[in-house]
């Protein structure tokens, strides 16, 4: 078919404006800003000071490392929880309930993250609903401190990003032919070996794309660590926020932002390389 140049330009020009003005230039600016700092005379100029500062202050790089490690832990627990749920919906439950369960599964994730975190807060805080029942039933004598701990924060992160693991795993499980599992079972394969040899290898692309999205969302999350984490579970996004809004040190904040961007792209790149999945496949 003959393509007219006019239609190409009509389609492409808004797209180019979007990508250049709102994606490329701002991130270039972020990169440049992170290398600028005031020298001893108070003049702005090129400097590595923002990055040096990051490595010299333990609180900064410790927060960075903690954010990365906790995001990995979150991704792992999300996978542990999502895998059986997805398996149940696709392979175990009677097909007539499947549609209903899928709707039920997706529904909470349409609701704003803030509302979900708020729900956990009124459940778990010391005057919260869970403690009310625990006290009432005489299981504990004094309210338990459940909110503002690392474990609760990780649970919150798992809860928040659950969907992005369950959905891709469900879609790969649907393409797994039941007869493979039946054959393995007939030939005497144990449950463990069926999981290890058949189900998990088949699900690898889904698990990878799920893990990438969950990891990225946890790394960049601000609400959940801020509202559910304690004093000692500072998240790196909170450091960025502090630099930008509280200290008004945008250059330092830009350096932090760039480091976080580097970390998330690095891990995503490694994940894609290890599993040989393309970015476009993760997206779809």
């Amino acid at each position: 078919m003959k393509t007219s140049r006019l239609s190409l330009w009509i389609f492409l020009s808004p797209v180019l404006m979007w990508l250049v003005l709102l994606i490329v230039l701002p991130h270039l600016d972020l990169f440049i800003m992170s290398f600028r700092a005031k020298d001893e005379y108070g003049r702005m100029g090129f400097s590595l000071q923002n990055y040096v500062h990051f490595f010299e202050e333990p609180i900064y790089w410790l927060t960075f490392v903690r954010t990365a490690v906790y995001s990995v832990i979150t991704t792992f627990f999300t996978f542990l929880l999502a895998m059986p749920v997805a398996f149940y919906i696709v392979k175990v439950v009677r097909p007539k309930y499947k549609g209903f369960l899928m709707v039920l599964l997706l529904l909470p994730f349409w609701v704003s993250e803030l509302v979900r975190v708020y729900g956990w807060m009124i459940l778990l805080r010391e005057s919260g609903v869970v403690n009310f029942f625990l006290l009432k039933l005489g299981i504990v004598d004094a309210p338990l401190k459940m909110l503002y701990t690392d474990a609760t924060m990780i649970m919150g992160l798992v809860y928040t990003s659950m969907l992005f693991m369950v959905v891709p795993v469900i879609s790969v499980l649907e393409s797994l032919d039941d007869s493979l599992i039946e054959a393995a079972s007939d030939l005497g394969g144990s449950k463990i070996s069926i999981w290890r040899e058949i189900i998990l290898p088949h699900c690898k692309p889904g698990i990878t794309s799920g893990a990438i999205v969950v990891f990225m969302l946890s790394l960049g999350n601000y609400l959940t660590p801020n509202l559910m984490g304690g004093k000692n579970s500072l998240w790196f996004t909170e450091q960025i926020y502090n630099q930008f809004i509280a200290s008004f040190n945008w250059n330092q904040g830009a350096a932090f932002g760039f480091l976080l961007l580097l970390l998330s792209s690095g891990i995503i790149w490694a994940g894609l390389k290890l599993s040989r999945v393309k970015l476009g496949e993760v997206a779809s």
């Binding site: 749920v85 997706l106 529904l107 979900r116 956990w120 459940l123 599992i181 960049g220 996004t237």
Partner: protein, 284 residues
């Protein structure tokens, strides 16, 4: 193991129980939030003191219900306006992007496609700060070179719109592209042979075919914009959107008014989700 194989009773039942517990985990925070919106108490916690609609309709002065709470109502309006503008912009540019990448050929197509996917892997906080930096730099540029003070480049309503637009467009483009890929291009050729112009073809044939995807993507874009927190946090000016406003209230302590707003949000998004699901079922 799976439903076509004989399973032990214990296996099946423990799986059922596990999934039931999972759904309790999924819905508990939302349910508790909704129920406590109707509790006749000044704090969103148990014990249950009987039902009330005060947190929705009470005009004050002790209890101010959501429908008399000017600040929260204003933030809902701001969110609504933002979401409408963002979703329209995203649908227009996203559809253009889908056409450009699916139907046209042009130099650097792969590079641009990669750039289009980039917002998927950039954490929202980073998008927020780079938009803020980019806009500030642009504002300074116009001020020093043209002596123009352009309000849009300062944290404001329009900067929030731009920031959200910058990444939601990617989602719209992916959804519309997926639908466009299923389009039978011989229909276009037939129309062209019968004497239609390229734009008539797009208007009467291709866009009509894409309509369910465009409506669905528009609804998702609306919701993503309405609920966005991470990016908006850095761009918001004197007009906070609902998530920002709620966040400030949750951080500083909570009243059941937040539960009332959450209840309305949960009901609203669930309806939107079900409608969207209904249409996507019909399409499939």
């Amino acid at each position: 193991m799976i439903r076509t194989l004989p399973n032990s009773r214990a296996y099946t039942w423990s799986f059922h129980v596990f999934v039931i517990l999972y759904f309790v985990f999924l819905f508990a925070p939302l349910l508790v939030t909704c129920v406590l919106a109707f509790n006749d108490s000044n704090f969103p916690s148990l014990p249950w003191n009987g039902g009330t609609l005060d947190w929705f309709f009470s005009p004050g002065p002790q209890r101010v219900g959501i429908f008399h709470d000017a600040q929260n109502l204003r933030s809902i309006l701001v969110s609504f306006q933002t979401a409408v503008i963002v979703s329209v912009l995203c649908v227009v540019v996203g559809t253009c992007a889908a056409f450009a990448f699916e139907q046209e050929t042009f130099p650097f197509k792969n590079l641009l496609y990669f750039l289009m996917l980039a917002p998927l892997v950039i954490p929202g906080v980073i998008l927020g700060i780079s938009q803020l930096l980019g806009a500030t730099t642009a504002g300074m540029f116009f001020e020093t070179h043209f002596d123009l003070d352009i309000a849009i480049f300062r944290p404001s309503f329009w900067l929030v719109v731009l920031g959200q637009f910058s990444f939601i467009t990617t989602f719209v483009a992916l959804v519309v592209s997926a639908r466009l890929r299923k389009f039978d291009r011989s229909l276009e050729e037939a129309a062209l042979n019968l004497g239609a112009t390229r734009f008539q073809v797009i208007r009467f044939i291709t866009l009509r075919f894409l309509r369910p995807a465009i409506i669905g993507a528009g609804a998702v874009a609306f919701l993503m914009s309405f609920e966005n927190f991470n990016t908006t946090l850095f761009l918001v000016g004197s007009q906070p959107t609902l998530p920002i406003n709620l966040y400030l209230q949750v951080r500083d302590g909570s009243t059941p008014v937040i539960n009332a707003i959450s209840f309305l949000l949960i009901v609203g998004t669930s309806c939107l989700a079900l409608v969207n699901l209904y249409f996507s079922r019909k399409e499939a």
